[in-house]
C-alpha cells in the first residue's frame, strides 16, 4: 500500500506533524527566536512611508498558490502581506500589490480586504489595491519596474517565488531609493536579492516571517518544531558523514 521509496519521508513527516501538535497543545513557553533584520525593518519601512507620504508596494512574487513548487512560498508571502496591509491601513498609506498569477490575485485581494477590516479601516480598501500586472514573467517585471519609476514608493516588499526577473525587480527597486525588503527561498536567485535589497529574508526566514510578525503561540510552536527537526537533520548528517568516512553505509541504506 505504501509507495516504495517514500517510507522514510512519510515517517519524518508524521514525526514533524506529531511534534508540532504536541508543542502547540503543551502550551510550554517557547524560547524567543533570534532577531531577523528584514522583519524588524518592516516597521521601519512603513514608518519611512508614513513620514514621506509615499506609497508602499508589495508583491508576493510570480508563484502560483496551487503549484507544488511555488505554492507554499507564495502563501508565506501572502501571510506577510496580511501584516503589511494591516499596517498600511492603520497608518492610512496608499498600498499597491502587484501580482502575476490569477489565483494569487484572488487570495491577495481577499487577504488585503480582510486586513483592512481587521485594522478598522474597511472604507480605505478598494479593489484597485491589488493589481493583476501581467500573466507573463517579464511583462509583470516591467510593469512593477514602471510603477517604481512613476510612483517612487517609499517601501518596496519583494516576497515569495521569483525567477529570472529577480535582478530586474530588485535593482530597479533599489535605484528608486526606497527601502527594499526582499525574501525568497530558492537559492538560485537569492544572490540578486542580497546584492540589491536593503534587507533579505533568506530561505526559511520567509516561511517563519508570518509567525515572527504575529507572535502567536501556535505559530511560534511550529517554528520550534522546525528548529528541532533541523537539529535532527544536522545530527543525521554528521553521523552519516562520520560513518561513511569509516566505510559504513548503514545509515545511507536505512534512509533510502
Amino acid at each position: 500500500m505504501l509507495v516504495k521509496g517514500q517510507e522514510v519521508t512519510l515517517v519524518a513527516l508524521l514525526l514533524l506533524l506529531g511534534m508540532t501538535i504536541y508543542l502547540i497543545r503543551s502550551a510550554r513557553a517557547i524560547p524567543p527566536i533570534r532577531k531577523i533584520a528584514g522583519l524588524e525593518a518592516v516597521q521601519e519601512a512603513i514608518g519611512r512611508a508614513t513620514e514621506t507620504g509615499r506609497p508602499v508596494f508589495y508583491t508576493p512574487g510570480l508563484g502560483n498558490i496551487s503549484s507544488g513548487s511555488s505554492g507554499v512560498d507564495t502563501m508565506a508571502a501572502v501571510e506577510v502581506l496580511s501584516h503589511v496591509a494591516a499596517l498600511t491601513a492603520q497608518y492610512k498609506l496608499p498600498l499597491t500589490v502587484g501580482v502575476l498569477d490569477a489565483n494569487t490575485y484572488a487570495v491577495s485581494d481577499q487577504t488585503v480586504r480582510e486586513a483592512y477590516i481587521r485594522a478598522g479601516q474597511p472604507d480605505l480598501y478598494n479593489p484597485e489595491i491589488v493589481q493583476f500586472m501581467s500573466p507573463q514573467q517579464f511583462g509583470y517585471a516591467a510593469a512593477c519596474s514602471a510603477f517604481f519609476e512613476r510612483e517612487h514608493p517609499a517601501a518596496i516588499f519583494l516576497m515569495g517565488f521569483f525567477q529570472a526577473e529577480t535582478v530586474m525587480l530588485a535593482e530597479s527597486a533599489a535605484l528608486t531609493g526606497a527601502i527594499v525588503i526582499g525574501g525568497m527561498v530558492r537559492y538560485t536567485q537569492l544572490p540578486s536579492f542580497v546584492a540589491s535589497c536593503d534587507y533579505t529574508l533568506i530561505a526559511e526566514e520567509l516561511y517563519v516571517a508570518g509567525a515572527y510578525l504575529s507572535k502567536q503561540p501556535a505559530k511560534m510552536a511550529c517554528i520550534r518544531s522546525q528548529d528541532i527537526a533541523k537539529l535532527g537533520a544536522v545530527v543525521l548528517i554528521a553521523a552519516g558523514a562520520i560513518m561513511a568516512t569509516f566505510g559504513s553505509k548503514t545509515l545511507i541504506d536505512l534512509l533510502k
Binding site: I21, L175, Y187, A233
Partner: protein, 205 residues
C-alpha cells in the same frame, strides 16, 4: 462557520493530496486527481477575475487621461487582438502564432536582454570592499569571473581551478545548507496551513 469551513476544506483536500503521494489506494488516487482537475477550473475563473481587474485599471487610466494612457490603449488593443484571435481561430492557428512571434516573443526577449545591465548595476553597487564580508565577496567574485572566462586563465592560469573549488566546496555547502533549511521550513509552513494555524487569507493575524 465562515472561517471554519474554508479551513476544514483546505485541510481535508490537502490531506487527501498528501496521502495520494505516500499510499497507493485506488479511491484516494481517483479523488486526488479529480481535485487537481478542479484546481484548473478554479484557476480559469480566477483568470477571468484578474483580467477584469486588468482591463478596469487601464480603462480608468484612459478615462482619466493619465500619462500612461497611451500605453493602456496599446495594452488593451493587443489584449483584444490576442483574445479575439485565440477565440475565433484557435491558439494553434497561424494567425495566433504570428501575433505571438511578432509581439510577445520579441518583447520578452528584449526585456530579458536588459537583465545583463541590471546585473552590472547591482555588481557595481555590491562589490565594494566596505568590510570583511564585502571584501571576501569581492575577491570570490573576481576569482570566479576570471576562472569562467578565457582571458581570465591567460591572466592567471590557476583561476579556473580556484573558481571550480569555490563553486564546488563552499558554494555547494552553503547551497545545501539553505536547501535543507528551506525544505524543513516548507514542511513546517505547509503543516501550519493544513492544520489551519495560519489563516491570514481569512483575515486573521
Amino acid at each position: 462557520m465562515r472561517r471554519e469551513i474554508p479551513v476544514f476544506m483546505g485541510s481535508t483536500i490537502g490531506a487527501i493530496i498528501i496521502a495520494d503521494y505516500y499510499v497507493r489506494v485506488p479511491w484516494i488516487s481517483t479523488v486526488a486527481k479529480e481535485l487537481l482537475d478542479w484546481t484548473l477550473i478554479l484557476s480559469a475563473f480566477a483568470l477571468v477575475l484578474a483580467s477584469i481587474n486588468l482591463v478596469r485599471k487601464h480603462v480608468k487610466s484612459i478615462a482619466k487621461s493619465e500619462s500612461t494612457a497611451p500605453y493602456s490603449v496599446l495594452l488593451l488593443v493587443v489584449l483584444a487582438a490576442f483574445a479575439f484571435t485565440g477565440i475565433a481561430v484557435g491558439t494553434t492557428s497561424a494567425s495566433f502564432r504570428f501575433l505571438f512571434d511578432s509581439i510577445l516573443e520579441p518583447v520578452s526577449s528584449s526585456l530579458m536582454g536588459t537583465i545583463g545591465f541590471y546585473f552590472l548595476s547591482a555588481a557595481y553597487r555590491t562589490f565594494r570592499a566596505r568590510n570583511l564580508e564585502a571584501t571576501l565577496l569581492l575577491v570570490a567574485a573576481v576569482v570566479v569571473m576570471l576562472g569562467r572566462s578565457t582571458i581570465g586563465t591567460f591572466i592567471w592560469p590557476g583561476a579556473n581551478g580556484a573558481a571550480e573549488w569555490l563553486l564546488d566546496v563552499p558554494n555547494t555547502a552553503a547551497n545545501r545548507g539553505i536547501i535543507i533549511g528551506a525544505a524543513l521550513g516548507l514542511v513546517s509552513a505547509a503543516v501550519r496551513l493544513l492544520l489551519g494555524i495560519d489563516r491570514s487569507y481569512l483575515g486573521e493575524e
